[in-house]
Structures are given as C-alpha cells and as structure tokens.
C-alpha cells in the first residue's frame, strides 16, 4: 500500500482532536486557521486573536464583512455571543501570562528539543516579519506545530538543530504533519500515530532524527 499522506484538512482534524472543551486557543495565520473548521460544534472552545478578540467566530457571510472585525491574518471574522474586545497590551498579556492553553503555529523547522523556527528563512534578501509568533511560541501553555513533514526538496523539517533563525527555544510540545503526529518530550521525539500505508521505520528514515513509538 502506498503512503496515504494526510491532507491539510486531515491534519487540521487531527489537531482539533487534541483540543478539549473549554480550551483557550490561538490559531496562527496560514495553515493553523484550518483547525477552526474541524472543532466539533458541540465542544465550546475559545478562540483568541492577537489583535484583541476572545470568542472569535467563523468568517461572515459574503457581503456581511466588517473591517473593524478581522483576525490576525487581516481576514474578516465574527464574534460569538460571549466574546470580548480588548487592547493589544491586554491581548499579549493573555499570551505572555500563560493564559492560553494552546497555540497552533506553522513552522519551517522543529528541533528535537522543541526549538521552533517559523518566522524567517534567514535569506539575505528576505524581508523579515515576526508578528506575534515569538510571543505565542513562549506564551501559550502548550505550543502545537502544524506543518508539512518534508520540504519541497524532500528534506525533513524535523531537525537535530534548527538552521533557520529561531522563533522560540524549547517551546514546541506537539507536531502535526501530513505523515505523523509527534510529541516532543524531554526524552526526545515520540510518534503517536502516522499516515496509513507508512511503515514506522520509513517514518524514521524520512524524518532523519531519532524517533520512538509511543
């Protein structure tokens, strides 16, 4: 059987499974925003947006957009009944103060010790932009990463040591990819589950770093 790589929606659904009712969660821009579509409707989860929103709801219907009500990616959103607005210092106090249970971020690389690189390729001509990534990475109680397992050229994004500039030191707790779900533990990386048709040894080979079974 060939490897059944998980689609972006399947990865998002896998992340959603690990978000319990009542959790305060920040979904980073890009891939992580997909997770919102997979949170079960019967589970109350509080979505935080760095620009001063708690209780963020889904995108508005076409024609109903309010440009004073946007998310971190500057896309229109809605507010659930029970939601609240606050200013930026208060919003980042929620992160830095450890009040968010989970944040989900994209990544270029995750190291075996939980180091995260997701903001800058380090290329000399790249225009750097960090936004709230560094605050989220170290502020949330648990930082989840959602990413493709391999780069376009086939290299593993799980690394011994990040070669891209760091976003945070030792901050990643879980990694969700198209190939596997991996927990970062003090004893190293532990694979919890992996794609259908993928052999564990093959996962280790593709990952290029030590990996244990749960």
């Amino acid at each position: 059987m060939s490897i059944q790589r998980r689609t972006r929606d399947q990865i998002a659904a896998r992340v959603a499974r690990d978000i319990p009712e009542g959790a305060y969660v920040n979904l980073g821009i890009g891939l992580p925003t997909l997770v919102a579509n997979h949170l079960p409707r019967d589970r109350e989860i509080f979505l935080h947006s760095e620009n001063g929103i708690l209780g963020m709801g889904p995108a508005p219907a076409k024609g109903e957009e309010d440009w004073d009500l946007i998310n971190a990616g500057k896309q229109p959103v809605t507010l659930l009944p029970g939601g609240a607005f606050f200013h930026h210092a208060d919003s980042f106090a929620m992160m830095r103060g450890g009040h968010l249970d989970i944040c989900v971020l994209g990544a270029f690389q995750v190291a075996v010790n939980g180091d995260l690189a997701n903001w800058h390729t380090g290329a000399p001509d790249a225009i750097p932009a960090v936004g709230g990534a560094m605050d989220l990475a170290v502020g949330a109680k648990r930082t989840f990463v959602m990413m493709e397992h391999l780069t376009k050229s086939g290299e593993s994004k799980l690394v011994e040591r990040c070669t891209y500039p760091l976003t945070g030191v030792g901050c990643v707790k879980m990694v969700y990819t198209d190939l596997a779900t991996i927990e970062v533990t003090p004893q190293g990386l532990v694979a919890l589950d992996w794609a259908d048709g993928l052999d564990f040894d093959e996962l280790v080979r593709l990952s290029g770093v030590p990996l244990r079974r749960a």
Binding site: E21, G22, Y24, E44, F46, H48, L54, G55, L79, L80, P81, G82, G83, A84, F85, F86, A89, F92, A93, M94, M95, R96, G97, G98, H99, L100, G139
Partner: protein, 228 residues
C-alpha cells in the same frame, strides 16, 4: 457546554489549600468580596498569605479572616485604618507578617504576574526604606527599583455582572484591583450580583474577559450586610 457559574461559594472554593496566596480585590469596602471571604473562613484554610490594598477594618471581610487566625502574612499598601484593630493587635503581637508595598507597585506587580512580565523597573520607592536591599538602576538619568511579580494561587474579586463564560463587568470605583487580581491567580473566583445570558454583556464593555475567571458565584444584592 462551559458553565463557570458555581453552585455555591463553598463549591467554588473547595480546592483551596493551606498556605495559599490569596489576592483580594477591593479598596476599602468598595469591591471587597465579602461573601467570598466569608466562604473562605467557612472553608477553614490556614496559613494564608493575603494580598490586598488594605488589611481589613471593623469585623467583616479581611478583618474577620484575621480574627479567625487564618492569615500568616499580609501584603498591602495601607494596613492602618480607623478601626483596623484586628490587624493592629495581631501585628503588634508579632503574630502577623507584613510586607508593605507602595500602592502603585502593588498594582503593577500584580499586573506583571498576570501579564507574564518577569520583573520591572519602577521609580516608586527609590531612595526610601521600602526599597531597602532592592536592586536599583539608572535609566535615562532617572533612578528605578527592580520589582517582581506577585502571583496568586487564588483570587477573590467582587464584580457586578457575569456570564457562564466568566466575563465580568464592575460598578464604578468598585472596579479598582479586581481586574488585575483576576488576571494573576491560578484560580479566580468572582462574586456577582447578576448573571446574564451569553451575549448579555456588550463585548465592548467587558472589563475582565472570561479567560481570567474560573468560577462565578452569584450573591444576593441586598444581603443583611448591605441593609445594616
């Protein structure tokens, strides 16, 4: 469904342990969570560290907690009041430790705990006895004292209205320390006079978002104390 509205104050405080650091909202009587303090006395926890602006007066609230012998230490800015006799006598008898903190440093240290700030430089208190032994630094030609956050195990605050997600509004100057105390404890319990349906609080006027609140305890607006 998330419902932070507690069955009773006793239920909300069931997990409090001996030795806990308890942050209390309130300035004088305004915003003082009297009903929650009564429940804390009822609960029986001992060796508490109390962080609040005042050290209680008369026979209720913090004064009653002191009288019951439950407090090991109090961190506050203004313990001396006209009728703070329970504090006065325990303090003079050496039975109560006092950490006196300038009011703005108290507020900022609590805010720092809630905001994840590791420490900060404040101009307040520089060159005074209350900064003795503390690290100082000149920044931009001015002298500052290094102060550290005050984290709570428990915060008790009095708000006006709340909902099942823990969102709170306050009333007038009873707001005072409530919002920052609520942000700085592992468990925050708020007493409210009114609970409303989700969406019943305008999202523009919520002062303490539910992320900072663990339990909401409804109390009657016109208790015996109010009538007294």
């Amino acid at each position: 469904m998330i419902n932070k509205i507690a069955a009773s104050a006793a239920a909300a405080l069931a997990g409090v342990r001996d030795g806990a650091t308890v942050l209390l909202g309130g300035f004088g009587g305004a915003g003082m969570p009297d009903e929650l303090i009564d429940a804390l006395i009822e609960h029986g926890a001992r060796d508490l560290v109390i962080v609040s602006n005042n050290a209680g007066n008369g026979e209720t609230g913090i004064a009653a907690l002191l009288k019951a012998g439950r407090v090991r230490k109090i961190v506050c800015s203004f313990p001396r009041q006209a009728d703070s006799h329970h504090f006065d006598s325990l303090y003079r008898a050496g039975k109560l430790e006092l950490e006196l903190v300038p009011q703005g440093n108290l507020a900022e240290r609590v805010r720092a705990a809630g905001a994840g700030v590791g420490a900060f430089y404040t101009p307040t208190g520089y060159g005074t006895d209350l900064a003795k032994g503390k690290e100082v630094r000149e920044i931009g030609g001015r002298m500052y004292v290094l102060e550290y956050p005050i984290h709570g195990d428990l915060a008790l605050v009095k708000a006006e209205r709340g909902d099942r997600w823990g969102n709170l509004t306050y009333r007038k100057a009873a707001r005072n320390f409530g919002p920052i105390m609520a942000s700085a404890a592992r468990c925050t319990v708020a007493q409210v006079y009114e609970t409303v349906e989700l969406g019943g609080l305008d999202p523009e006027i919520i002062v303490t978002p539910g992320i900072f609140v663990t339990h909401v305890v409804p109390v009657p607006r016109s208790g015996a104390r109010e009538a007294a």
